[in-house]
């Protein structure tokens, strides 16, 4: 499966380093090249500066949270086409519902499972 996403660029937004590297490693195994950001604002700026194929974002973050980032990306005509995947624990269902309402395209529950992550990136890259 590795290499399927070669050349694809992912932006990973989370305020915790361990979460970022964990997801980064999983994505890199799939062939993605990964850029990290520590909060929604930094993520938004990076997304504006460089083209990304997919954005992964945590929800609860300082400065700008993931919900706002979803909103900013989905209401920005230049960015709206980028799929946004929110990351959250299963106990935070209400955030996920809010995030989907804000335009998030998919979600990956924490702890991140490799198989599920693959499923999500596959369906998004297939356009579903």
């Amino acid at each position: 499966m590795s290499g399927d996403f070669k050349g694809k660029r992912a932006l990973v937004v989370d305020d915790y380093h361990s979460m970022r590297v964990t997801l980064k490693e999983l994505l890199e195994e799939l062939g993605f090249s990964v850029t990290e950001a520590e909060n929604g604002l930094e993520g938004l700026e990076k997304a504006k500066a460089d083209p990304f194929d997919i954005i992964f974002t945590d929800i609860v973050m300082p400065v700008m949270d993931g919900l706002e980032l979803c909103n900013e990306v989905k209401t920005n005509p230049n960015l709206t086409r980028i799929p946004v995947v929110v990351l959250s624990t299963h106990t935070d269902a209400s955030y996920l519902v809010k995030a989907i309402g804000m335009g998030a395209d998919d979600y990956v529950p924490k702890p991140i499972e490799r198989a599920l992550l693959l499923k999500v990136v596959t369906r998004l890259s297939d356009g579903y």
Partner: protein
């Protein structure tokens, strides 16, 4: 540089952006590499000297070569010493975290003791080696307890003394030359040297007659004597824990000392002076030869060396072979044999090293004493320390040598005496210690017998096995340690945040910060597979969320719940580190429950889709007719999710989103609102229109649905 913080104010604006987390183990690896460089650089110097001698004799090597050699040496020396100091710098941390850990403790202790204490920290930004920062915790903790319990007076007494009711305990850190100074100051009653001296006489520590010749300083210094306290009745607070003698020895272990400055009625200050570590992983050793192998014995463990005729060795049935040293019998072993090799060849004259560790004293026979040397120490993994070797080193002349773990060696010698066979004894803790600890390595061993420590190891493996089992990701994700480190980082600050919230209960910024802290801790715990604990934190988070939305007032009780919750996480983390299973205090959950407002859910029952038709509003109905007229096709979709799916509501929302791309959704059962409120069982019914013909639409929908795990069955119907 010193900045004084007002009580309750969160310590200065720390710069988060230019910091990063570095694993201590990486640093230690780097440090070991630096050690290698130092060795190489020493070897270059030696080689250079030899070439110089050769050059002086032969005059055959050309000047340029000589200069180049010289340059290599200089460059290598400079690089190695710069690298060393760089790594030492990286190991430095701010004392802030250590200081702030006491903020909570001071609050609780003052409450318990019925005193009002203003806790002030100064010089939070002072840098100390990480190992030192950790080792300062215990002595500081004891001293702060002492200061609050014995040092400062209660408000009434203070009033009588003409002082304000609020007493002050100050922790201050500063650096001077190569030393770090840590000061614990209180403005309490002070220590009376005469009563210290009297207490010492009463307990038989000194003779009454000796008093007259003692200076005030000497009398004061008596409080460092084991078992002496100026207040006889041990209180709840400072009656437990280490005494001043342990404080002193803790600081001495760091190579420092403790000074007292006190004035009756005005207060007391204890000042620790601690030299900054300048060389880590460099060990003074005695090198010896046993058979063909080179060994290094840490000088700290060497009592004496001697050689004697073999005939001077006593042999007794009970103790085996032994020698007489300074009038007492010391058991004699063969170093090679103890380390699992062949015994040394018999000789008329034998060479002996007497070694000592916390667990005893033995003498070992070696072939030859070489020399004392400063050696760069590379710790071995735990596995090897079983064999009585704690590390490897490169001795002068580029010879590989092994560093003997004397504690372990003595353990092995016990096995020889008792069972004839060496018992494999494994230790924990020390092998994993940071290099600062390794410096004291074989000499300093954590308390407890070897047997207890073996149990520890087994338990630890057991627990870590369980942790991995409880979550498959444990195996997949290689950052468990880092999650724990982050957890620790958050925990260190969260108390400080909660206490500052206590002083500013309506500050939403602080509430948000604490909320994020708990939320992140939850995520971290979930990631390492501790879902139960994660679930507990979620409950706390719910309360905080209410506070965020303004529907919950921050009272003292809430502050207590938050502090207690942080304590539970701390205890759980500690338990895991020590190999125990974490325990969650149910009673706290109950008090959390009390504050939790029930979620406002309109429909609690899951919707049965078969008994309900689409509810289509009048606007939708108009649209529906319009779509029919425009010859768009109308479809119905039934989906059933796998029974165990806990996320059906999310998957349902995502599927609705996808359908909206190819058409217009007129209605669904349950309604979108119901789905959002999680009132969905395992089924979903959707009515939508699309310009797509049945065959391509069927393919699209199938393509979407096959991409979700949770979809069990589905049916697409085209209605006319």
């Amino acid at each position: 540089m010193d900045t004084e913080h007002k009580p309750g104010e969160v310590g200065g604006g720390k710069n988060v952006v230019d910091r990063m987390m570095v694993k201590i183990s990486h640093l230690d690896t780097l440090l070991n590499l630096v050690g290698e460089v130092i060795i190489t650089s020493n070897n270059i110097s030696t080689t250079n000297r030899r070439i110089q001698e050769f050059y002086d004799r032969q005059r055959a090597i050309d000047k340029v070569t000589m200069d180049m050699l010289k340059m290599t040496e200089v460059a290598s020396n400079r690089a190695s010493s710069e690298m060393h100091s760089l790594v030492m710098d990286i190991r430095m941390v701010e004392i802030r975290a250590t200081f702030q850990r006491f903020r909570r403790a001071v609050r609780d202790m003052a409450k318990d003791a019925g005193k009002q204490v203003d806790f002030v920290t100064i010089g939070d930004e002072t840098l100390v080696d990480k190992t030192i920062a950790e080792k300062l915790y215990d002595p500081l903790n004891h001293q702060i307890r002492n200061a609050i319990d014995h040092g400062v007076e209660d408000p009434l007494e203070r009033q009588r003394m003409g002082k304000g009711p609020m007493s002050k305990v100050t922790l201050r850190a500063y650096q001077k030359e190569n030393n770090v100074f840590i000061e614990i100051r209180d403005d309490g009653r002070g220590i009376d040297p005469e009563s210290v001296a009297k207490a010492a006489v009463n307990r038989g520590i000194i003779e009454e007659g000796a008093l007259s010749s003692m200076t005030t300083e000497e009398k004061l210094a008596l409080i460092f004597h084991p078992g002496l306290s100026t207040k006889v009745t041990a209180s709840k607070i400072s009656g437990r824990g280490v005494g001043m003698d342990v404080v002193k020895s803790n600081i001495e272990q760091l190579g420092g000392d403790v000074a007292i400055d006190t004035k009756i009625g005005e207060g007391t200050a204890f000042t620790y002076r601690i030299p900054q570590i300048t060389a880590v992983n460099i060990l003074d050793c005695l090198t010896v030869l046993a058979g063909k192998s080179h060994y290094a014995i840490p000088i700290l463990n060497v009592v004496s060396t001697l050689s004697m005729p073999a005939s001077n060795v006593h042999t007794t049935l009970q103790k085996g072979r032994s020698i007489t040293h300074l009038g007492s019998l010391v058991t004699l072993f063969d170093l090679n044999e103890l380390l699992g090799g062949k015994p040394l060849d018999p000789a008329d004259e034998i060479t002996i090293v007497i070694v000592e560790a916390k667990n005893g004293r033995v003498s070992v026979r070696v072939s030859e004493l070489l020399m004392p040397e400063k050696l760069v120490f590379t710790p071995l993994s735990k596995m090897f320390s079983v064999q009585g070797i704690s590390g490897t080193t490169t001795m002068s002349g580029n010879k590989m040598g092994m560093i003997i773990d004397v504690f372990e060696l003595i353990n092995r010698s016990r096995g020889v005496v008792l069972g004839g066979e060496t018992a494999p004894v494994e230790r924990v803790g020390r092998a994993q210690e940071t290099s600062g600890g390794a410096l004291q390595s074989a000499a300093v061993v954590a308390g407890g017998t070897a047997v207890e420590e073996v149990d520890e190891v087994e338990k630890k493996e057991d627990i870590s096995g369980k942790l991995v089992l409880s979550s498959d990701i444990g195996k997949e994700i290689g950052h468990r340690e880092e999650f724990f480190v982050e957890l620790e980082d958050i925990l260190r600050n969260v108390d400080e945040q909660i206490l500052s919230l206590e002083n500013n209960p309506s500050d939403m910024d602080i509430v948000n910060r604490i909320f994020r802290d708990f939320h992140s801790m939850k995520g971290n715990l979930m990631m390492v597979g501790l879902t139960e604990l994660g679930g507990f934190i979620h409950e706390v988070e719910v309360i905080l969320d209410q506070a965020r939305s303004g529907s919950l007032e921050i009272t003292e009780e809430i502050i207590d719940i938050l502090l207690d919750s942080a304590d539970i996480i701390k205890a759980a983390k500690q338990a895991i580190a020590e190999g125990r299973a974490p325990v969650i205090d149910r009673s706290l959950l109950k008090s959390i429950e009390k504050y939790k407002k029930p979620k406002e859910k309109k429909v609690e029952e899951p919707v049965d889709i078969h008994n309900r038709t689409f509810h289509i509003g009048s606007l939708e109905r108009i649209n529906l007719f319009a779509h029919r007229r425009a010859e768009k096709h109308l479809y119905q979709l039934f989906i059933s999710f796998t029974p165990k799916s806990q996320q059906a509501f999310l998957v349902a929302l995502l599927i609705l989103k996808r359908l909206a791309r190819i058409g217009h959704i007129f209605g669904c059962v349950p309604t979108a609102e119901e789905i959002e409120n999680q009132s969905i069982s395992n089924q979903l019914k959707v009515m939508f229109s699309s310009p797509m013909d049945e065959a391509p639409l069927r393919k699209f929908v199938e393509d979407v649905l096959m991409r979700y795990y949770d979809v069990n069955e589905y049916e697409i119907l085209k209605t006319s």
